[in-house]
Every structure is written in structure tokens, then in C-alpha cells.
Subunit: 137 residues, 4 copies
């Protein structure tokens, strides 16, 4: 299983009036995780774009286990979840580095659209199949 | 089943470099839906706060069906999902008003924390039980 | 002087850990004000785009006078500030509707770029000159 | 003059439908700059809070010189601007690391409020005067 870890300092603007990170911001942390994964493993947004595709998120889930406060930092672990379909799936774990607690887990699913027509690609694109093969996925 | 509908004009700042609403912003639309539901049906954040609780989101899901572009407006339908446990659950439908398309569905789950201690309330708070009874839920 | 007024309910996600609206969100309120102004007076982003231009913000200023809390609503007054140069200038006033207080004032300046080349247009575009003339500006 | 430099990778969620970083997000970059400055020079938000104060932004300005695109990284230089009044002032420069261009400059001003009463502190707090003296400011 291939994965990637990053650390993020919480921005003040990411907190809400309960004094904790606003729940929707975890989708930004997941995005940061995907980006870092893409850079580390050759699956960047811009590489995909150059191959002729955009890969919008079609499904996302977040389970919150514990709050994160301003002044704390988190670690986001992004794991690639293999699938036979023409999709990109990731799982995420968010660890509060200040407490060691698991504070959230989540999942996302992306599909391939032709970047110009925005038509859904039902068959796994060649470059993605090759990328998966290079990792024995 | 009790529900609430609101209409939202897409903000330019809510779009991304694909020219569509960035997927994470749907959690803001869901929040707008919950707020409007709370106002319409007497379950506002500040009412709950006055009763001694905060109700953080512990789970959220979004399924995207179609993109929404800048210049378009959406309708968010928020439906209360009854549960016997000490939780607040909603389902959401987002309709693109410019095309009539269903563009996203989603769910959220909230729990009750004591507003001062932030300890989880395992038993349905009285005011919430009464609120449910008043709607025969 | 032509202007436009809108009312906005504060989103929970727009507050920060000080319990007030995060300062940067006022630029979203200004954007909402510009949008509404554009719709009311025929100067929408998409109209401008159809004429061949995008109009990025090149300068913005915010002066905060008083905080706005969650649960409150604001009124944004957007005033067009005439200029002889190829620019679009607005001034904004943000009134806290719950207290009647002036809570912020601000300004923005936009320029015209060719939408394809992204080259700066130094001369007032015809459609904009005609728009100004139609309002005797 | 004391200052601090940080590097930031642009998030996809920070772009807008023009394909560039949405102008309001620069206030987040300035916030990141202030945070880093605070950590580097002992003027953190939480240190100030422990001394009994919060320091809201009362004024901010951004001048945009050039766009920043997704896939690019920026450097934010945060410079402390000395003042005799009970205020904290910073200037910012944002450099596009992919092009070397100066893409934005800005300023912010913060005041001291008593953290409980939220009353404005007109006299420079002792800890801040001592902090300034330690840097000969």
C-alpha cells in the first residue's frame, strides 16, 4: 500500500467560534494530502491535466474523532486505495501532533473527465493503468 | 418528515481553477441548510448553546452528481433524519437551479457536548427530546 | 452616485476562534456586494466576460470598526466610485444589522485584462465607457 | 528591521474560476506570515493571549502585482513596522517562487483588546513594550 505523510500547522482562519478547526476544513487537509501524494508518487493534478484529464471529487467522507485547536499541528496520512474501475480513491488519517490522538479519518473518490469536453471517462486511461502497474497495484 | 429549502447564489470565491464550485464548499451549503432549518423549526445553534450544549459535526458525506458553475444558483433541501440516539442527523439535496439537475446529496451527524466541559452527552438532552416530541419524531 | 445594498446572514464557518467573523471574510462580503451591484446595474462578471474581459482585483482595503458575531446579520452597501482610468472602483460599508453599528468600510479596484491573453487593457473598453455614459458617470 | 520568510504551496481550493489564486486568500498568506513571525520572534497569538490580550486586525491592504497560478509556490516576507502607539503593524511581500516576480504587497494593523472584556487597550501593554525594547524597536 502506498501512502504519504505531511504535517500542517493550523491556520487561525481555519478555526471557528467553538475554538476548534471548522469541520469543512478537513477537506482542505485531505486535498493537501492528495497533492503531496501526487508529488511523491508521480500523480500530480498537472500531470493528469497534461494527459488530457481533470479528476473532480465525486464522493467524500469525514469522520471526526477529536477536535483540533488553534496552535496545534496535524499529520495527514494519505493512502492510495486500489480499484479496478476508472477512479482514484484515497483514505486519510489525521493525527493531532500535539496530543497524539487520531482526530479524523476520511475517504475521497475521483473520476476522470476529458479536460475539454468534461465527459466522464469510463475506461481507465492508459497513463493511469501504467502508473498503477508501475506500483503493482 | 420535516425539511427546509433555501436558495444560494454561487460566490466567485467558491469556484476553483476547474471553473466549478470547489467540492469542499458543499459543506458550507449544508451548513447554510442546517442554519435555515434551525431558524424555521426552532433548533438554532444559539438556542442549543443556551441549553448548555454545542453540537459539532462528527460525520459528513457528500456525493457529487454534477458540477455547478459560477453565475448559477442552487437550492439546498435539508431534511431532518430521526434517530433514537443523542444525535442530530440531516440529509441534503443540492439542486442546480439553472439546469434543474440534482448536483449533490449529502449527510451530516452531530453530537451533543457540554458547552463548558466539552464532554460528550450520551443521553438525549431534555430540550431536544421535547423538540422531537413536538414534531412527533 | 449609484449603489446597491444586500443583507447577509453570517455563516458559522465564517467565524474564528475569537468568536467573531474572521477579518478576511469581509472580502467575500465585498464580492457579494459587487455581484449584487453588477446584477442591479448591468455590470455582471459574466457580461464583462462576454465582452472579452476579466476584471481581477488589484487593490483592496478593509477598515474594521467593530466585530460581528455569529448569529448576527450584516448589510453591505456597495458604491461605485467613478474614475477616468480603465478601472472599476467600489467603496463598501458593512453595517451590523443586529446592533446598527458600522462595522467595516473598504475599497476595491479592478482592472481590465483581455480574457484570453490576460494582457492589461490600458484604454477604457467601449462597453464600459457606454455603461458609464448611461449613468452619466 | 526584523522580518520572517516562509514558503507556501498554493492549494487547489485557493484558486478561482479565473485559474488564479482568489485575491482574498492573500489575507490567509499574510496570516501565515504573521504566525511564522510570531514563532520566530516570540510574539505568538497564544503568548499574547496568555498576557491577557487578543489582537484583532483593524486594517488590511493588499496590492496585487501579478497573478499566482495553481501548481506554483510563493514566498511571503513579513516585516515588523515599528509604531509608538499600542498597535502591531506588519508589511508583507509575496514573491511567486516559480517566476521570481513580486506578485503582491500588503499591510495589516492590529490593536490590543482585553481578552475578556474586549475593551480596546490604548496604552502599550508592558509585555509588548518589553518585547519591542528587546529588539531595540
Amino acid at each position: 500500500m502506498i501512502s504519504c505523510e505531511i504535517e500542517i500547522d493550523i491556520r487561525f482562519s481555519e478555526t471557528d467560534a467553538m475554538g476548534v478547526v471548522w469541520h469543512g476544513n478537513y477537506l482542505k487537509f485531505f486535498e493537501d494530502g492528495r497533492e503531496a501524494f501526487g508529488k511523491a508518487h508521480g500523480l500530480e493534478y498537472l500531470t493528469i491535466f497534461d494527459k488530457g484529464y481533470v479528476t473532480p471529487i465525486v464522493k467524500s467522507e469525514i469522520d471526526h474523532k477529536a477536535p483540533v485547536y488553534y496552535g496545534q499541528a496535524i499529520k495527514v496520512i494519505t493512502r492510495y486505495i486500489p480499484t479496478k474501475s476508472a477512479k482514484i480513491q484515497f483514505e486519510y488519517e489525521v493525527i493531532n501532533l500535539s496530543t497524539g490522538e487520531l482526530c479524523a479519518v476520511g475517504k475521497t473518490m475521483q473520476v476522470f473527465l476529458d479536460k475539454d469536453s468534461r465527459v466522464l471517462e469510463l475506461i481507465t486511461p492508459d497513463f493511469y493503468r501504467e502508473w498503477k502497474e508501475s506500483y503493482n497495484l
